[in-house]
């Protein structure tokens, strides 16, 4: 299989090379113009010829002409071998024939009497372009700025929005940007390539020394990376970002992988983003300025792996707020901008494949597949939820038909309609290499001669199939056994795999129209994802640990979740500038629909029999089990529809030499979410004679007609198994904001935002019998909130920014965070549920010093402090005191988070005099250090004397990390960008992290530090038209490791009632937030110390991609 893949790659390369050749020939054919000299003899204009030729060569054609005339041709073999599909001449002048040939074949004919010399014409280069925007050092456009091409003397002027386009022949140029009272800036080594655009945004600095001319010179590479930093420097708020160019230098395939490269940003499973150590639910994600719906049903987050990086223009993470930001956040506002109107026409194809060390070519397990899984669609085999499934509430299989309201035959008929169990049960497949293909097209058209009015679009279609195998080396979380029964028994472990099969197809069509005063854009993204996550863990449970009798061999828990997701976002946005007034508006509609079809959980029991040790078999539920049971097939349908609209108006005015902006606006966001679940436990009737241990699960469907004890397996949905959650929320707000620019070095932005939020749960059913009488506590105190914000930026010198900001913000609960639905999550080994989540109000204080020592270089230090009132966290609760508990999302009382951030990006150009190679090397790094204290609270119920319930909270304070927080985070990177060769090495380290918190120490779970090492090699060939890229990610195969301070690491202080953690618990060996390996106590033969709750390996991935740009 490996060989066949190699052959495929070679074939692909060969095809690509042939393809290039053909395209070159075709472009010559289509665009060639006869520039050759006319044939000089008058005879040529007199001689007439008649002939017809098909599928011939030029040599043979000339031979025919020679036969009919007295002329002879002299030409090179290369010319003679050129093919001609058909050529017809009827009484045609020889001069006309040669003219046509000259056009079609780009030939030049020179006559020397009767000899005609034939030569090839050089291919005229197509012009390229340089385009960009000229702004001042505060980001304001400079209309009428002068752009001079030193080499040609050509001069252009920028438009009213500061943009410019210059058409140039391919070559290397030096551009000079000048504007009255600004320092002239010269950019060298600006490469213009044929038919392509070279983007170059420039920010000019105010001339501080009168009329004396100073010219700043930098090269293109520095100037273009500098533009992103300039954007960062010019924003009123604190931000960090990554440009398309920086993204392309990483091995990242989707945005989830890229985010962790931004200062203060880390990700959970490459999908959920933690900003400044603050968990995903406190971060807001915007795609082209509109909110993204949560792709996880029970958590507020967005799976960033939906967006391929090659569609991304840039990602900016705002970390402080201004009043015009419509959505509250505590960690960061992640703004993903996809490409819209291109500056150049392009058509590119890319294809890639990747191999994972733990997956490719190895066994890959899963339930029955559909024919179209590779295309992201179901073939119907997962359709097991026909219309009209009724619940069997009140049906008792022990009773006769006469005593039951629902008759056995009705149950049997429903079983038949639901269908058989053929798809169930694990199969072994072979994992294939991942594959991805993409085609992108961009077109831009000038609507006037000055190119100031333009219309254009970008379209992209991509396909990706990824197969992954996460190896779970140890699972001691939730329901699984927490430690070996005998400390010295190496076989008493729980292990497994999570197999991921993902097919993603994305279609993006963005378009826009712009004039100097108006701009209108439309953004449209459709994504189809088939994501099948199959987890299979083998081991012993906490309830039934290993023994030498009936639990000698481990059992297996399987969980198959085939999820089909459609995400469609349509957005229209517009900017109008009328004099000093700027109007911005946008409207967007986002629909996310996901359906988990035939999601199955099943258990395999084992026992030792005569000839098999172990003998394995699937087990149905007991009819008396009121829960989901050991085996159930489910369907979950989630649909969220968001509509958002924003209108902002700003007015620029000047007072003396100071400039000011008044901005006001309104925003509206309406969400509607509906989540339907259908859970079909497969139960077995009483006194059953179905030989369950010897019939495979695939044949269970043959024993479901309910005709008697020999056929009494049945789907047993209760009324809470077929139910739904439906809610809608309205979020609207308005703001006023002032932006003062005093002189050139002080900027003050302040404002007030009024924000309204209301969540209505239309239907909120429980999914478990025991939760039916539980109430959620909604502690939302008020609908309207007024939130001030202020930002000050002071630049004592041009290269230095000092920033300080304060903002109050509100983070609203996600739609499903207030659902009473709960479900077993195989990752946690537990049920996950909510006990009601209210808004979190946050006071944010930030300070930052940024130094821009040179173009593209940055050195910054930042400090932040946040007070979070009622932060929501993931808790493990153990109300039943069984040592296992469940995961619950609820509000803590408060949290305080403070931290430092450092960032460095430095070119090694200053060493380039000695080692020229270092001129192209960049060193970058960032470091985040944080600390937090949380006061947790737990809701208690007291029965009063009058027999009514009274609710109150108990509190416990602990200087622990907030849920999801990473106290230490750093990235380091080394990048070399040569003309053809590119090398990139990145190292990412995340320190200890609180994974799940709890009020009891033995339930808190921490994640151990993890370091990932990635590398990338890229090479451009075929004159830069083709780029190949070899990515190596997770080279050290760093595992995700979690641990818990086991009960053996602390004592409970008798009568310890204080509010501080240490008032209640006495620490012993192993009781820290750091991992201690522990030891086996020889007396008890039990482990003492930290319990390794989960260890998971992802393997090393090597991916090769080829991109071809036409």
């Amino acid at each position: 299989m490996h060989n066949s893949t190699k052959i495929n790659v070679i074939k692909l390369l060969f095809a690509m090379t042939r393809f290039t050749f053909l395209v070159t020939i075709l472009s010559i054919t289509l665009t060639g113009v006869l520039l050759g000299a006319e044939a000089k003899s008058q005879d040529l204009n007199k001689v007439k010829i008649t002939f017809a030729a098909k599928n011939t060569t030029i040599a043979k054609l000339f031979e025919k002409i020679e036969q009919q005339t007295g002329f002879a041709f002299s030409f090179a073999k290369k010319i003679g071998d050129q093919s001609i599909v058909s050529f017809q001449a009827k009484d045609m002048l020889l001069s006309d024939i040669l003219k046509e040939l000259a056009i079609v074949k780009r030939l030049k004919f020179t006559q020397f009497d009767e000899l005609i010399a034939v030569s090839e014409l050089p291919i005229p280069p197509k012009p390229g372009r340089i385009s960009g925007k000229v702004t001042d050092d505060r980001g304001e456009p400079l209309p009428g700025a002068s752009i001079k091409i030193i080499e040609t003397g050509q001069v252009a002027q920028s438009n009213t929005d500061g943009s410019y386009v210059i058409n140039l022949q391919p070559g290397i140029y030096t551009l000079e940007y000048s504007y009255i009272s600004f320092q002239t800036q010269r950019v060298t080594e600006v490469a213009v390539t044929e038919n392509r655009n070279t983007p170059l945004n420039i920010s000019l600095k105010t001339a501080s020394n009168g009329l004396k001319e100073i010219v700043i010179t930098s090269d293109y590479k520095k100037a273009s990376i500098a533009s992103l930093y300039k954007l960062q420097q010019n924003t009123a708020y604190l931000s960090d970002g990554i440009s398309a160019e920086q993204i392309s230098a990483t091995p990242d395939k989707h945005v989830g992988e890229t985010l962790k490269r931004i200062t203060g940003v880390s990700t959970t499973d490459n999908r959920r983003v933690v900003v400044r150590g603050i968990a995903e639910r406190y971060n807001v994600s915007l795609l082209n300025g509109s909110t993204l719906p949560s792709t996880s049903v029970q958590q507020r987050d967005f799976e960033f792996n939906l967006i391929p990086t090659n569609l991304v223009e840039n990602i900016v993470v705002a970390k402080s707020m201004t009043a015009d930001m419509p959505y509250g956040f505590a960690g960061g506002l992640i703004q993903i901008t996809t490409k819209s109107v291109p500056n150049e026409n392009f058509l590119s194809f890319s294809a890639g494949t990747s191999f994972n060390s733990l997956t490719t070519g190895k066994d890959f397990m899963g339930y029955g597949r559909g024919k179209y899984d590779y295309f992201g669609f179901d073939d119907g085999e997962r359709d097991h939820f026909p219309e009209g499934i009724f619940n069997l509430g009140g049906f008792d299989p022990r009773l006769s038909d006469a005593q039951n309201k629902i008759k056995a035959a009705q149950v049997g008929e429903q079983n038949k309609r639901i269908g058989g169990t053929e798809r169930l049960g694990t199969r072994i497949f072979k994992a294939m290499p991942s594959q991805n293909y993409q085609v992108s097209l961009g077109r831009s058209y000038a609507l006037d001669s000055t190119s100031r009015k333009r219309i254009g679009f970008v379209a992209s279609a991509s396909y990706r199939n990824t197969q992954s195998n996460d190896e779970i080396a140890s699972m001691r979380r939730g329901d699984w056994s927490q430690q070996p029964v005998r400390g010295d028994d190496p076989t008493d472990i729980n292990t497994g795999n999570i197999y991921g099969f993902n097919t993603t197809m994305a279609l993006l069509v963005n378009g826009g129209f712009k004039t100097p005063s108006h701009q209108i854009n439309t953004y449209n993204l459709y994504t189809r994802i088939f994501d099948n996550r199959f987890s299979r863990i083998t081991g012993w449970s906490h309830e039934n640990p290993k023994n030498d009798g009936d639990m000698k061999f481990p059992g297996t828990a399987e969980d198959d979740r085939p999820k089909f997701t459609d995400l469609l976002q349509n957005k229209l946005s517009s900017t109008h500038k009328i004099g000093k007034i700027k109007i911005e508006w946008s409207a967007a509609r986002t629909v996310l629909k996901s359906i988990e079809k035939d999601a199955v959980s099943a258990s395999i029991n084992t026992r030792e029999i005569g000839n098999m040790a172990p003998f394995s078999y699937y087990v149905p539920n007991s009819y008396s089990d009121p829960g989901f049971g050991a085996v159930h097939r489910d369907q979950y349908t989630f649909r969220e529809q968001n509509f958002d609209a924003i209108l902002n108006v700003s007015y620029d005015f000047r007072i003396g030499s100071t400039s000011h902006t008044f901005k006001t606006g309104v925003n509206y966001l309406k969400k509607h979410a509906e989540f339907n679940w259908g859970i079909l436990p497969i139960s077995i009737g009483s006194k059953s004679t179905v030989p369950i241990a010897q019939i495979p699960i695939q044949q269970w469907g043959n024993y479901m007609d309910m005709s008697g004890p020999g056929s009494n397996l049945f789907y047993f949905p209760a009324n809470y198994s077929l139910n739904k959650f439906e809610a809608e929320s309205a979020n609207k707000g308005g703001f006023v904001m002032m932006d003062h620019k005093f002189f050139s070095n002080l900027r003050i932005v302040y404002g007030l935002r009024a924000d309204y939020y209301k969540l209505d749960t239309v239907v909120n059913a429980a999914s478990l019998l025991r939760d039916k009488n539980n109430r959620l506590i909604f502690a939302e105190e008020k609908d309207w909130r007024v939130m001030p914000s202020a930002n000050i930026t002071y630049s004592p010198v041009k290269e230095l920014n000092i920033r300080a900001s304060y903002a109050k913000s509100a983070v609203r609960p996600g739609m499903m965070e207030n659902s009473r639905f709960s479900r077993f999550d195989p990752d946690y080994g537990s049920q996950v549920k909510s006990s009601g989540v209210s808004s979190t109000i946050i006071d944010n204080y930030d300070a930052k010093i940024e130094l821009f020592p040179g173009a593209g270089e940055l050195l910054s230090v930042g400090y932040f402090y946040k007070y979070l009132d009622k932060p929501a966290e993931f808790y493990r609760l153990d109300r039943e005191n069984n040592g296992v508990g469940y995961i619950n999302i609820t509000n803590s009382d408060w949290a305080k988070v403070k931290g430092w951030e450092f960032e460095l990006r430095k070119s090694l150009g200053f060493l380039a005099d000695k080692v020229p190679f270092l001129g192209n090397v960049f060193l970058s790094g960032n470091l985040t250090l944080q600390k937090s204290t949380v006061r947790a609270r737990e809701l208690q119920v007291k029965v009063l004397a009058d027999n009514t319930d009274s609710l109150y909270y108990t509190y416990i304070k602990h200087p622990r990390a907030l849920y999801g927080q990473v106290p230490l985070l750093y990235n380091a990177g080394l990048q070399y960008v040569g003309k053809k060769l590119g090398l990139n090495i990145t190292y990412n380290h995340a320190g200890y992290k609180t994974f799940i918190t709890a009020s009891q120490p033995n339930l808190v779970e921490y994640e151990r530090p993890r370091s990932q090492f990635d590398a990338q090699i890229s090479y451009k060939f075929l004159k830069g038209k083709m780029e190949s890229r070899l990515n190596m990610s997770n080279l050290l195969n760093a595992p995700f490791r979690h641990f818990i301070n086991d009960g053996s690491t602390f004592d409970i202080i008798p009568d310890g009632v204080g509010e501080e953690w240490q008032d209640r618990y006495k620490y012993k060996f192993g009781f820290t937030e750091k991992f201690e390996e522990g030891y086996v106590d020889p007396l008890t033969n039990r482990r003492v110390g930290d319990r390794q709750s989960s260890t998971r390996y992802l393997g090393t991935t090597f991916s090769l991609s080829l991109t071809y740009n036409l």
Binding site: K11, I609, M612
Partner: protein, 268 residues
């Protein structure tokens, strides 16, 4: 031509895509044709027996060979199952038996294996008159090279905490320097005499005990009671003789402590 080449590229990509499509995998939990009752009982000393089913080793037997916690059934994936016993050390085939799906019961005849001979009956001399004949086979844990065996009469009382307190031991040797790994000759046991009590309120309890031949200490906790093995001792009222073949199998429990599993092969 251009279009044709794009098609070629697309076909190539599709081929890779289609080559990836694998719909039916190999099912992990296999179909079983029938589950049938199964019985097995035997005894193994000297060498370990390996039990194979259809060429796959399932378990080892040493000492008591019985199903115990093993569910007494056979799973037929085919119509026949071949069971084999092999000597673990030499891999020599000792016994084989076929089971058929058609049979209602699948019984392995009761067997005894002494490391060289596999038979259906344990052979031993018949005791004459009132004689109590006994031989021993010791499988000692590591570190115990030889034992002395004796009939010890314990003088004891039960204290307030319900603990047995030994105040005196009177020993009557049976065999000395008994090496592990082989059967001893048959010894004739005689009823031990009852000694005079050394203090008031005590009782007498005769037991067979093991002492380390080298240190002369009782093998477990240097305690006569802890180091005693369960077997019948004749007394003055014994009227009928008896033969006992005691297999003493030293084992280590989960707390890493020695204990002895003792079986009488005559009774097995």
């Amino acid at each position: 031509m251009k279009i044709y080449k794009i098609h070629y590229l697309l076909v190539l990509c599709s081929l890779l895509l289609l080559a990836s499509c694998e719909k039916d995998g190999e099912i992990v939990v296999k179909n079983v044709k029938a589950l049938k009752p199964f019985e097995l009982r035997g005894y193994v000393v000297g060498d370990t027996l390996e039990q194979y089913f259809d060429g796959k080793k399932i378990r080892d037997y040493y000492g008591k060979a019985m199903l115990g916690t093993v569910r007494p059934e056979l799973a037929f994936t085919n119509d026949e199952i071949l069971m084999q016993f092999k000597n673990k050390r030499t891999k020599e085939l000792v016994y084989e038996q076929k089971f058929s799906i058609k049979d209602a019961d699948n019984v392995v005849p009761k067997f005894f294996y002494d490391g060289s001979k596999f038979s259906n009956k344990y052979e031993y001399p018949t005791a004459q008159g009132k004689d109590y004949l006994v031989n021993f086979y010791l499988d000692a844990p590591k570190g115990l090279e030889a034992v002395d065996i004796a009939t010890d009469v314990l003088e004891y009382y039960i204290d307030a905490n319900n603990q047995l307190v030994i105040v005196n031991v009177t020993s009557f040797p049976i065999a000395a320097d008994l090496k592990p790994g082989k059967w001893t000759p048959y010894y004739t046991l005689t009823p031990p005499p009852t000694p005079n009590p050394t203090q008031a309120g005590t009782d007498f309890y005769p037991v067979i005990t093991l002492k380390n031949s080298k240190t002369k200490k009782y093998v477990i906790n240097d305690n006569a009671f802890d180091s005693s093995i369960q077997m019948e001792i004749p007394d003055q009222w014994t009227s009928q003789g008896k033969t006992q073949s005691m297999h003493i199998l030293g084992k280590i429990n989960s707390l890493k402590a020695y204990y002895f599993e003792v079986n009488d092969l005559v009774q097995y």
